[in-house]
């Protein structure tokens, strides 16, 4: 049965999302356990397929419908997407368990079945985008993930539908330009399978149709990845989305976009092309440098905690861009490892912010006084997440930043290294402003007395505390075992020829 794991990863969440919707019509309480069961199954599938890749050392190829690659759709699980699959499975499972009390609080009861159906559909799209080896199939799953994201964001109240609509306009623009890119690729080569494309593309690298195709492809992926110039949709949509939705979307959606960029630049196109022949990666690197500086400063300027984290996502995308820009082994190791770490770090931070918004009834940074007294675990989670994003050693953020800086220096790109360092400094100022507000409040500060006497954050449900604590432990473990992960998984994940 294990040979079918790589397709079950997409089929099981797809089927269970519709089954959850059907059962939800009769019995609303069954939705949550069914979702968690489906996500647990996906975790088993992704971990199983990744383990087979690790043990056999060769990627797993799965021909859908028995058709051989150039004709049929092929699902490939290799070192790179095995890692990403397992990370998505873990983060989405924890997000589902965490979001339970928030769903009960934020989503009207009649909409629970559709919410969980869309939740699973979103996870299907993410899994599919990671595991597929076919360019057009990737577009279809990209759209599945995007629809469910639009609908999930639209479920919020107030300005959420409006933000969802603007996000849809931007997202469709991105997806259509990806489709156009695939069209041009198809004209030039006649094939859609990634491995097949790599061989066919080599002799025709400098044909104009291919250049235009690559440009459209990268534009589409940049929109999905919220890369700097085209990231405008992210802050509004993720801030206005209900926090049970942003806990799933924020860590995963943009990171899978980053994974697709690495896949396109280094597996579909030969690394020698995208690094030396046509300086694609250097351009990406320079844009990422601008992105890091811009979004770090924007994050500093925000008063709203959640909007600040959204700009942080754009910064993290910038770090991955710089890793790709360096275009050498340590740089790429850094960006792949940062992609992995960022899923857990952002998951942890958005869980903490969701809990603060739900129980402490505030989202502005100035309203956080006395947080450590009424919500100690959330404050600790915020500290662990913040320190990891800054890059304080034993946590995972440091090691990925270490490889990024190594890559930038080895590529003699001093501005890249400078941007990375300045970025982590700006993040430090950003987060310590929050820690100050959470932990130190002057004893004679009037707000302190009101906070003490007035609102007492109600007890956080265990269902929220455990996933947050687990995520914090994962962030620490990722840091401690970074050497192991890099040597055994990421070292092989880097496509040959970098």
């Amino acid at each position: 049965m294990t040979v079918h794991f790589s397709v079950l990863i997409v089929v099981v969440p797809l089927l269970s999302s519709f089954l959850v919707f059907a059962f939800g019509l009769f019995q609303r309480r069954v939705c949550f356990p069914a979702t968690v069961a489906a996500l647990a199954a996906c975790l088993v599938f992704s971990a199983g397929s990744f383990r087979t890749v690790l043990t056999t050392g060769r990627p797993v190829h799965y021909h859908l419908g028995g058709w051989a690659p150039p004709w049929g759709i092929e699902y490939v699980v290799d070192y790179l997407n095995g890692l990403v699959l397992t990370a998505i499975a873990i983060v989405s499972l924890l997000a589902a368990i965490y979001a339970r009390t928030l769903v009960a609080r934020e989503i009207p009861a009649a909409k629970h079945p559709p919410f969980y159906a869309l939740f699973l559909l979103q996870v299907t799209g993410l899994f599919g985008m990671t595991v597929t080896g076919d360019m057009f199939n990737l577009y279809v799953l990209l759209e599945i993930a995007s629809f469910s994201a639009y609908a999930l964001i639209g479920m919020g109240e107030g300005a959420a539908p409006f933000a969802a609509f603007r996000y849809m306009i931007f997202g469709t623009l991105g997806a259509c330009s990806y489709l156009l890119g695939v069209g041009y690729l198809y004209i030039s080569t006649g094939s859609l399978n990634m491995a097949d494309l790599r061989q066919i593309l080599v002799p025709i690298y400098f044909s104009q149709a291919l250049m235009v195709g690559l440009a459209f492809l990268l534009l589409g992926i940049a929109v999905k990845m919220a890369f700097f110039p085209v990231h405008l949709w992210l802050p509004d949509s993720y801030t206005l989305a209900p926090s049970c939705v942003s806990v799933l979307l924020a860590p995963l959606f943009t990171k899978v976009g980053a994974y697709v960029m690495i896949r396109v630049l280094f597996t579909v196109f030969d690394p020698s092309f995208s690094i030396t022949l046509l300086p694609v990666t250097t351009v990406i690197g320079w844009v990422a440098v601008a992105g890091i500086l811009f979004s770090s400063i924007m994050a500093l300027a925000q008063g709203d905690l959640k909007r600040m984290l959204c700009y942080l996502i754009v910064t993290e995308g910038g770090y991955i861009g710089v890793g790709i820009g360096a275009g050498n082994r340590p740089g790429l190791t850094g960006s792949i490892f940062h992609l992995l770490n960022d899923m857990f770090m952002m998951g942890l931070l958005f869980m903490a912010v969701g809990a603060i918004q739900a129980h402490f009834r505030t989202r502005t940074i100035s309203g956080l006084t006395g947080l450590h007294r009424s919500m100690p675990v959330t404050a600790a989670a915020l500290v662990v997440g913040g320190l990891s994003v800054i890059g304080v050693p034993p946590l995972c953020g440091f090691f990925s930043k270490w490889y990024l800086i190594l890559g930038a220096i080895e590529a003699r790109q001093w501005f890249f290294a400078g941007a990375l360092l300045l970025g982590s400094l700006l993040n430090a100022v950003l987060f310590f402003r929050i820690f100050e507000r959470c932990y130190f409040e002057a004893p004679h500060d009037p707000a302190h007395r009101k906070r003490e006497a007035g609102v007492k954050a109600d007890r956080m449900a265990m269902g929220e505390l455990i996933p947050m604590a687990l995520m914090a432990v994962l962030v620490i473990l990722l840091g401690l075992f970074s050497g192991y992960i890099v040597q055994h998984a990421i070292a092989h994940a880097i496509p040959p020829g970098v």
């Binding site: 057009f136 279809v140 759209e143 629809f147 639009y150 609908a151 639209g154 107030g158 300005a159 539908p161 409006f162 969802a164 609509f165 849809m168 306009i169 469709t172 623009l173 997806a175 259509c176 489709l179 156009l180 069209g183 198809y186 004209i187």
Partner: protein
């Protein structure tokens, strides 16, 4: 020069349609017009894909024994873009479905579909 124009006028048309759709999406104030612009944008890409598959003298890609006992590819136009575009049509319908649902929600909360009026309400 002439055969260049006739040879690639389909690309010309699809580029014009894309620009119209793009203009509609970006410049129009009314959200419904933005949606229409988005649809034009999507459908122009579908036109682009279909025009890729066409061959001179090829017929509809349905097996017709009267043409030639064996199936020769030259007789039929390339069916793959058509299949791909089936999916893209479904995607277009789904996007429009969700967009209309969101527009209903927006209209219900703000009473208008003009973007500047909504932004005014949001600013307050």
């Amino acid at each position: 020069m002439m055969e260049f124009i006739f040879g690639t006028f389909n690309y010309g048309i699809y580029v014009v349609l894309i620009l119209i759709g793009f203009y509609g999406m970006m410049a129009k104030n009314n959200l419904m017009k933005k949606l229409i612009g988005m649809n034009i944008f999507q459908w122009s890409i579908i036109l682009f894909y279909i025009s890729i598959g066409s061959k001179k003298g090829g017929t509809v890609p349905v097996v017709d024994p009267s043409l030639h006992p064996a199936i020769r590819a030259v007789d039929y136009i390339n069916p793959l873009p058509h299949v791909l575009m089936l999916t893209a049509i479904v995607v277009g319908v789904a996007t429009t479905g969700i967009a209309l649902a969101l527009l209903i929600l927006i209209y219900r909360t703000y009473g208008t579909l003009e973007e500047d009026e909504i932004l005014e309400v949001l600013k307050k």
